[in-house]
């Protein structure tokens, strides 16, 4: 289990030592910085679980540091602190993506409580990422992978009417839509995440969980239906041991149904990785399936 690490970027020495003690007592790993460059370098090389950020820096360094941190790690929770809390400041910080905005004069216990809640959520996401790494699926919590996503967005000039095309390209390259990648797209194109999420869930082509190495699409169009398409699908479900829409545990196959691939003259039809098999019967399935590793 990865240790949950908090980076504290504070210019106020007293506050720093308060937080440091309290966080360590709560069982979190802590690293302290007072230099922006060093902080960013650390955040890039060894992504932390959370950053506590002092907003009271000259030349609005605080808010811009918030943005830079999110460019490097879009899902990162940043708790901002200030000695001069105002309502406008709070709204501004939240709008810029801060997880929370607290006063340095408030009790440390309050700060630890807020931080604790964020880290609990982070713990679950870390577990998911570790599972993904075990399955050799790429994750998007680092600038390298994000650069790839960025290049997909640049293909259509970051236009916000090409949202569907971006998601299609990401789905094709990565076999799924990682949450972190979506958050990055939302920030980079400047559209709301709910809008992107709405698109990702509305259209059937997208999935939030990775598809297998090979995807089987069984056609359930009308012509295929009257020629036994549904029985083919059931046969696949039995053979692969998964319901339609799922992936085998060894990531070998994902099974999907599709309504009409336009090969009605060869009904019933199924596709594996875009390769069409027409005039199929249940008998012919095993030998075809065995061709795919």
């Amino acid at each position: 289990m990865t240790e949950l690490v908090v980076l504290v970027f504070e210019r106020d020495a007293a506050r720093t030592s308060e937080l440091d003690k309290a966080l360590k007592a709560a069982g979190y790993g802590v690293r302290v910085f007072s230099d922006a460059t060093a902080l960013l370098a650390e955040a890039t090389q060894r992504p932390p679980s959370l950053v506590v950020l002092d907003l009271d820096l000259p030349h609005s360094e605080g808010p811009s540091l918030l943005k830079t941190l999110h460019d490097v790690a879009p899902g990162l929770a940043v708790v901002t602190e200030t000695a001069k809390p105002t309502v406008e400041g709070a709204v501004e910080a939240m709008r810029r993506g801060a997880y929370n905005y607290i006063s340095k004069h408030g009790p440390v216990a309050h700060a630890i409580d807020i931080i604790g809640r964020a880290l609990e959520k982070e713990r679950m996401e870390i577990e998911a990422r570790e599972k993904a790494r075990e399955r050799k699926i790429r994750t998007f919590d680092n600038p390298g992978s994000l650069a790839e996503i960025d290049s997909i967005l640049s293909r259509h000039h970051y236009s916000d009417s090409m949202l569907i095309a971006y998601l299609q390209d990401i789905q094709k390259d990565l076999r799924y839509l990682p949450q972190d990648a979506l958050r990055f797209v939302a920030r980079r194109i400047n559209v709301s995440l709910p809008r992107l999420y709405g698109i990702a869930t509305f259209y059937k082509s997208f999935s939030f969980r990775p598809r297998g190495r090979h995807t089987v699409h069984v056609c359930l169009g009308t012509a295929c239906h009257v020629r036994g398409g549904a029985r083919l699908l059931e046969s696949f479900e039995r053979m692969l041991g998964i319901p339609t829409g799922e992936t085998t545990y060894d990531d070998r196959f994902s099974l999907e149904s599709v309504r009409c691939v336009g090969c009605c003259g060869l009904a019933p039809v199924f596709m594996v990785d875009g390769h069409f098999y027409g005039k199929m019967t249940q008998e012919k399935i095993p030998q075809i399936v065995n061709r795919y590793e």
Partner: protein, 606 residues
């Protein structure tokens, strides 16, 4: 009759539509090329990729010119014999598609029932051109209509020809195309107007648009350019569903090639007319075939239909006047402009002019795409062209119009096919899917199938569609399981009426059609399911029991091996036994039995 010696040029064309590629067309093409290059008989043999011949049952299809001979189900190992035929030898009879078996003649397209009864306008280039060759398209009068429109006609005259032709939208609704164009033309569009090609062909069982886009993309592009000229648009979109990757690829290539040759883009053919086209891919939503949902999708949003008015022709894509037409509609425009609207109007019936492309599929012998004059009867389509019902079983119904349409029963087989007649019979033309159904098709199951499809595809915005379709599916689901009750039929009818009247868009409004037409013509089947718990067609799993017909069983054990749950036992050469308790009714045994020895009995469910 052998291939003539008049010329030293022979051409062999291999169909490269998706279905033929699936059947191995690539391998056949390579083999033919190898054999042709080895033949060295002083003949010039061209082996080319051809446009979809739309006779998918025979895939892969190879055509020979001169002569027009057609070979079906060709394998790479046949290449040698075919080339030998070309060089002056005999016709390879075992491969030849012929309507007169036994005659020692070269089968020609003009003799074969499937082909000879067709009138090709939208599919005019079928079997003649390589989809990726602009030269081929131009050689067959391609872009001649556009040249004529830009140099000899005014935009109003172009519009006039389309109006006079009586062309109606081929995507389903059948709205007069010329009138639609006129509304868009007359809508003020200071910031520009759009034309859109709706290639989101989602009706399961229909693949006309796929074939047209894959095999003759320039026909669509030229049509769109003509439309843009008539309406005053400068930008167009082709919205292709992502389940058609080859179609997408070919359209994109065709656009690039056309641009390079000055047939698209700025100053087309050196005139002051500029028009360009972009391709957008769908992402798996049937509802995006609906105009307003399609436009929302192009704008990068969820494909949820919007209320109309305002209509797209007034306020469409990004709020500008937009004209949306189906692929097949666009493909008809160039011939109309070239040969005149009056010519087109001379074909067809009083209110349905011209021809229509249908996908003839299902339980029919000759499956594929056909284009026939409006007014052709279902009998001619199913028997003369289709060759009759598969395995000569009894015809039960023909389903038209996809999930928005209905089932025409066999006793209406002499119905002339046009918009009005299909409407009168309770169905619709739709995009052109014609699904032939036989005695082994359960009409309640068909209704359940379509409603389940629509439930998955409903956008969910409005109550009657979202809730109503689910409730219809629930009721039909009970009926096919033998749990139907008195009052279900009346409830389906009442519910259907409200869904039809109150839905926001066409998907919802037409969703009750499959249910209401099957109720109208096959009510006895519903009643059998509900009151006697029987499925007369022996399809609904809960209501059938599989058994082995001992008198016909030869003991070959194929079914024993095919059964996934080992429900059939029996030694070789002895009639087998099927244990109904283990049987999961997958039908695998029925599929493999060559002796018609597996029967599905309708039973009572207590």
């Amino acid at each position: 009759m052998s291939v003539g010696n008049e010329t030293t040029h022979r051409k062999v064309t291999v169909c490269f539509g998706t279905a033929c590629v699936a059947g191995g067309a690539r391998e056949v093409l390579d083999a033919l090329r190898r054999e042709a290059s080895r033949s060295g008989a002083g003949l010039e043999i061209t082996v080319a990729r051809g446009k979809c011949g739309a006779s998918c049952d025979l895939a892969p299809v190879v055509t020979v010119e001169p002569g027009g001979a057609v070979y079906g189900r060709v394998k790479p190992s046949d290449a040698g014999e075919i080339v030998k035929h070309l060089v002056g030898g005999k016709v390879v009879r075992r491969l030849a598609v012929s309507s007169r078996p036994g005659l020692d003649s070269l089968p020609v397209l003009a003799d074969i029932g499937f082909f000879k009864n067709q009138v090709l306008i939208a599919m005019r280039n079928r079997g003649r051109i390589d989809a990726e060759s602009l030269d081929d398209y131009i050689a067959n009068d391609g872009y001649l209509a556009l040249a004529k429109a830009l140099t000899e006609m005014t935009p109003e005259q172009v519009l006039g020809e389309v109006k006079q032709s009586g062309l109606r939208g081929r995507g389903g609704a059948g709205f007069p195309t010329g009138v639609k164009w006129e509304i868009c033309r007359n809508s003020p569009g200071p910031d520009g107007k759009y034309v859109i090609c709706n290639a989101d062909e989602g009706d399961p069982g229909a693949f006309m648009d796929r074939s047209l886009l894959e095999s003759d993309p320039h026909a669509v592009l030229e049509g769109m350019a003509l439309g843009a000229r008539a309406i005053g648009a400068d930008c167009g979109y082709v919205y292709v569903r992502e389940e058609y990757p080859l179609a997408c690829e070919r359209v994109i290539k065709a656009i690039e090639v056309a641009r390079d040759c000055g047939l698209l883009g700025k100053n087309i053919m050196s005139t002051d007319f500029s028009f360009d086209i972009h391709v957008v891919r769908g992402a798996g939503a049937f509802v995006c075939g609906e105009e307003t949902a399609l436009m929302a999708s192009i704008e990068g949003k969820e494909g949820r239909p919007r209320p109309r008015p305002p209509f797209p022709a007034q306020k469409g894509l990004w709020g500008k006047p937009t004209n949306i037409n189906n692929v097949e509609t666009w493909a008809n425009v160039a011939p109309i402009v070239l040969r005149g609207g009056a010519w087109y109007a001379s074909l067809g019936t009083a209110k349905s002019k011209g021809t229509k492309v249908f996908s003839l599929v299902g339980k029919v012998k000759n499956t594929g795409l056909i284009e026939v004059e409006m007014g052709t009867t279902l009998r001619q389509i199913v028997y003369d062209i289709g060759g009759g019902v598969l395995k000569d079983k009894k015809l039960k119904a023909v389903q038209t119009g996809g999930p928005s349409g209905g089932c025409i029963p066999a006793d209406l087989i002499d119905l002339p096919v046009d918009y009005e007649e299909l409407s009168k019979a309770g169905s619709i033309m739709g995009s052109g899917g014609l699904i032939v159904m036989d005695e082994e098709t359960c009409m309640v199951d068909v209704a359940h199938y379509f409603v389940s499809f629509l439930e998955e595809e409903s956008c969910g915005k409005c109550t009657p569609c979202r809730e109503g379709i689910t409730r219809m599916r629930e009721i039909l689901g009970r009926i096919v399981k033998g749990e139907g009750k008195r009052g279900d039929i009346e409830l389906l009818q009442d519910l259907g009426k409200v869904i039809k009247d109150a839905s926001l868009c066409g998907l919802g409004a037409t969703s009750p059609n499959p249910v209401l037409t099957t109720l109208k013509y096959f009510r006895d089947e519903y009643e059998a399911h509900i009151f006697r718990k029987r499925c007369p067609a022996k399809v609904c799993k809960a209501l059938i029991v599989y058994r082995v017909v001992a008198e016909k069983c030869t003991g070959c054990q194929r079914c024993v091996k095919a059964c996934p749950v080992q429900a059939i036992v029996g030694p070789r050469s002895q009639p087998h036994n099927l244990d109904p308790a283990k049987c999961i009714k997958c039908g695998a045994c029925y599929e493999v039995c060559k002796f018609d020895a597996i029967a599905g009995d309708a039973i009572y469910v207590e």
